[in-house]
């Protein structure tokens, strides 16, 4: 019903993206600017400006979409606004200069759905992205929101709900991929009246931000999923645990919860059925390990977030010792669509073992950065090239890292791998929460391995020795290798420690921590060997193994590098060739960024000259 309200009362709608990325790029200023300009032109009764959740194409922010035309405008600045309003809204001529251009030689693409980034996606979880105001429950209801809740509460028994979720084949989207329906069933079968539900929004994997986006753009779909789950399992209290780095997600979630309560969709006697369920929001305080379920539970209980031995699993003994069902944000957001459209429909998407879609955050060295939702079974190549538009600046693809610190690096040879839980594990990586970091020829794989082990070492809670000490030893060895002090024994030693940490750690964090090391050793061993034997970093990244030099053939003597060098290491005379004093150089790299493109005279070399 609201749908009609939206399109009937106004001639056009401007949807301004207000996800974290666009807000950082001042999308609220753009919204205000648009409103002022529209009033100035007297169009306020014809055109409405709405802020929406994250559109997913964050690198192009701030994004403005004009509906019903579906015209996609990107990187809008305040100064563009008068022209945009005058041309498109008043005269009906879309503004080409503000549209997305795939590459400098191609024509601008006016409509959102014609842009490759959006065209190849299949939206289930992100179905409402960018089309509704996340702070307005009416719009969610207008797009059939809470319809699945009504069905579940009034037309289905708890057993039927569980059966539907089981048949759908939905598996946990947080990493390990445990069948969701099975998990619910285990928790339902536990005796006792007090049961809890938890939504894990402690999305700690660096490079993954789909849960943030879902909570920001469509918080009600998560709430709806939780209430359906509560009914199926027989729980009356739920918690959403959100990491402290996501303030906007917390704010929108709290607004959504308040509105759901006001509408009788949460709290006591939901939809008049006599069913009670309440949801609280708990905020983390910056600890990666709290994404592990037993650590997260400890954190909600107000303790230090250290994992404990399983079994007993949370479904038996979870929060405050009671049966607890825990799923991540993306998993919960899938639930309403499964109830609404049925298990058969859901299981028709994906592969034999992995059903439905998965959201990936496509970041790093890639042209189209952002969030993409794709059916399981799609290949890595399709995601990187068809949706992501390939590698920028004509560079060579080297690897894609999936699964965060628990995952691995997948090389070029394996790009045609259809993505599902099993295939990624077989490749030595894992699905994880869905971070997909693309690396090009300028990325050093030894440095990447060092980065991840350093990450897990810092985040290790310190409870079990293999993780606490094993990761420390691995960091020390990788530090030495990247400093050019590696020895012949280092690779074998790394492999031994990695295998042991994997086998003997207490929780998932430690058990998967060695994956980045093991996969880079498997697929990029020659880079390790170059660092150790030749003291050379082939990607020219490791600072101790490189030097900056000025090519005398190319230097135009323009003095820019010398003026910008913070350590006064560049000498020469104007109009003549400049030179870098290697003893003074701190390798900050400013010279390479300021050297005018017409000369392009500063280069990196390895091994180091000093």
């Amino acid at each position: 019903m609201r749908k009609t309200k939206i399109s009937r009362e106004y001639r056009q709608h401007l949807l301004v993206c207000a996800g974290t990325g666009c807000v950082a790029n001042h999308s609220f200023d753009v919204k205000e600017g648009l409103q002022t300009e529209i009033i100035k032109k007297g169009l306020q009764d014809e055109i409405q400006v709405i802020t929406t959740g994250c559109q997913g194409f964050c690198e192009r922010g701030p994004i403005v979409i004009v509906q019903p035309d579906g015209i996609f405008y990107q990187r809008i600045r305040k100064k563009d606004i008068p022209h945009l309003v005058e041309e498109h809204l008043l005269k009906g001529r879309p503004v080409k200069e503000l549209m997305y251009v795939p590459s400098p030689k191609e024509a601008p693409v006016p409509r959102m759905m014609d842009i490759d980034f959006f065209r190849h996606q299949r939206l289930i979880v992100l179905r409402n992205r960018g089309r509704l105001d996340p702070e307005n429950i009416d719009e969610f209801i207008g797009f059939n929101g809470y319809g699945a809740l009504e069905t579940a509460l009034t037309k289905m028994t708890p057993e039927q709900i569980i059966k539907e979720v089981k048949n759908s084949g939905l598996r946990g989207r947080g990493g390990a991929g445990f069948p969701t329906g099975k998990k619910w069933e285990l928790c339902r079968q536990e005796k006792g009246r007090d049961k809890y539900l938890i939504c894990n929004g402690d999305e700690g994997d660096p490079g993954a931000f789909m849960d943030r986006s879902v909570l920001e753009a469509d918080p009600h779909s998560v709430i709806e999923g939780l209430v359906i789950g509560a009914r199926a399992i027989g729980a009356h209290q739920g918690f959403v645990y959100v990491r402290s780095e996501y303030p906007l997600a917390v704010k929108r979630l709290k607004i959504a919860l308040r509105q759901a309560r006001d509408y009788g969709l949460l709290g006591k006697n939901i939809l008049g059925t006599g069913f009670n369920f309440e949801i609280n929001v708990t905020q983390g305080a910056g600890a990666f390990v709290c994404g592990e379920e037993t650590a997260l539970i400890a954190s909600i209980e107000g303790r230090v977030g250290r994992p404990r031995q399983r079994p007993p699993y949370p479904s038996e003994k979870g929060l405050w010792g009671k049966p607890t069902n825990i799923n991540n944000v993306e998993t919960w957001a899938n639930v309403p669509m499964i109830i609404q459209r049925g298990a058969k429909w859901f299981s028709s998407i994906g592969t034999k073992t992995s059903k439905g879609t998965k959201i990936f955050s496509l970041v790093g060295k890639i042209n189209n950065t952002g969030l993409v939702e794709v059916p399981m079974g799609i290949t890595m190549r399709e995601i990187i090239y068809d949706i992501g538009g390939g590698i920028p600046h004509g560079k060579e693809f080297k690897a894609v890292q999936t699964g965060g610190p628990s995952g691995g690096c997948i090389p070029n040879e394996m790009l045609d791998l259809p993505i599902d839980y099993e295939s990624l594990t077989k490749a030595g990586s894992m699905m994880g929460s869905g971070g997909m970091i693309v690396m090009d020829e300028d990325t050093c794989m030894v440095d990447v391995a060092r980065y991840f082990i350093n990450f897990t070492q810092e985040e290790s809670c310190g409870k079990c020795p293999p993780c606490r000490m094993g990761t420390k030893h691995m960091v020390d060895i990788l530090d030495r290798i990247t400093r050019g002090q590696g020895t012949d024994k280092d690779i074998a030693m790394l492999e031994t420690i990695a295998e042991n940490v994997k086998l003997t750690s207490l929780c998932g964090l430690g058990q998967t921590a060695p994956n980045p090391v093991l996969t880079t050793l498997k697929y990029f061993r020659e880079e390790y060997v170059a660092h150790i034997k030749e003291r050379r970093c082939p990607a020219l990244v490791c600072q101790n193994l490189i030097s900056y030099i000025i090519d005398p053939e190319l230097c135009g003597g323009c003095t820019v590098c010398a003026k910008n060098c913070p350590s006064d290491a560049i000498h020469g005379e104007p109009k003549k060739v400049y030179e870098i004093d290697q003893k003074k150089c701190t390798k900050c790299g400013i010279c390479i960024t300021v050297c005018p493109p017409k000369f392009n005279a500063v280069r990196k070399v390895s091994p180091s000259l000093t």
Partner: protein, 152 residues
């Protein structure tokens, strides 16, 4: 301690809300002062050692006063491959402090965070909740200058 008492009341004087209570306290004081921790330890009947253990376990808490401006460098993977380490070392050099430190004039505290989930803007530096995307070594020099200028 009136403000602290308010925070305790909002959280129902419940021990299990300790992480939220510490976050609220830090929002007011900019760090966790020893006297306040001692006070809430008494009010909640929670051993100070336990509060200390929580305050040091979670990265968001600081037991030392922070500078007027908090400069946070994201060290997530996307930021890392797009040059965050160089940005961090430039900031360390420019401010004369290591990550986690505060400048002697108490103007800046420099810290790192593992991922802000705004990877499309990598590499990111956040100054007092304002995000600065696609930073470079050059840009951070200018950034620090603007905040220094604000002081004069």
């Amino acid at each position: 301690m009136k403000k602290v008492e308010n925070i305790l009341r909002q959280n129902g004087h419940r021990k299990e809300r300790i992480i939220q209570i510490l976050s609220d306290i830090q929002r007011i004081y900019n760090y966790l002062p020893k006297e306040v921790l001692q006070y809430i330890s008494g009010r909640l009947r929670l051993p100070l050692s336990e509060i200390y253990s929580i305050a040091t376990f979670y990265a968001a808490f600081s037991l030392k006063p922070r500078g007027k401006h908090l400069v946070t460098v994201c060290m997530g993977t996307a930021c890392h491959v797009r040059g965050a380490p160089a940005v961090l070392s430039r900031l360390e050099e420019r401010l004369g402090v290591e990550s986690g430190g505060t400048t002697s004039d108490n103007q800046f505290t420099l810290k790192t965070v593992n991922c802000l989930g705004a990877c499309a803007l990598a590499p990111i530096v956040v100054v007092d909740e304002e995000y600065h995307g696609q930073t470079t070594v050059n840009k951070v020099d200018k950034l620090v200058k603007t905040y220094e200028k604000d002081e004069n």
